[in-house]
Symmetry: C2
Subunit: 116 residues, 2 copies
């Protein structure tokens, strides 16, 4: 089949023959792992879930410490990892910071797994 020649390696192929899809390269694997590492901790999973379930899809940082039974510096540390991974958005309003899930971010992270 000359379709293999028509698609250079690395090009996204919507193909049903898994053995013709090239394996992910080192650079893409590193960036995928950087995002997926954000999900490797139960407290970060709970933070994402609490924010997503919050009124209007957001949660005040003042409401995130108590349900996790963690200190404020630890919660801030985990929130920073989630923001740096592009999963949460932080917005300061008055005294408090409010967090929301970046639209589409969870779906894009999940696609890193299903598109392996």
């Amino acid at each position: 089949m000359d379709t293999a020649l028509a698609f250079p390696a690395g090009e996204d192929q919507l193909c049903c023959a898994p053995s013709e899809r090239p394996a992910i390269d080192a650079a893409h694997a590193t960036s995928a792992a950087q995002v997926l590492k954000a999900f490797a901790d139960p407290n970060r999973i709970r933070l994402l879930s609490i924010v997503k379930a919050g009124d209007g899809g957001e949660a005040c940082v003042c409401d995130l410490t108590e349900p996790l039974d963690l200190g404020q510096p630890t919660v801030s540390h985990h929130l920073k990892i989630l923001v740096d991974a592009g999963l949460l958005k932080r917005e300061k309003r008055g005294t408090w910071a409010y967090y929301s899930v970046v639209p589409g971010a969870l779906e894009r992270a999940a696609a890193l797994i299903t598109n392996l």
Copy 2:
């Protein structure tokens, strides 16, 4: 609405109102993080991808060491984590072990993220 009373907390609700879906509890967050931790390393991401792209959806352990440029004990360590997480299946045939992706495992792992 009395639907809130009809569904105990934790019951899976196919609902389009995110603020009515309860946040994940600690036990579920811990088990989700255990699976997703397997994706937190670029070498494991590459191993999964190479196995998935292999002929017949499997790869001999003898073909997994060279592309990653890692020693055999390190590759075995990562493969064990992937097997323990329920993502890869190991089958011994003759001299070599062959690895394949557990059917549906990547989709289930991705759903842990999209269903948060």
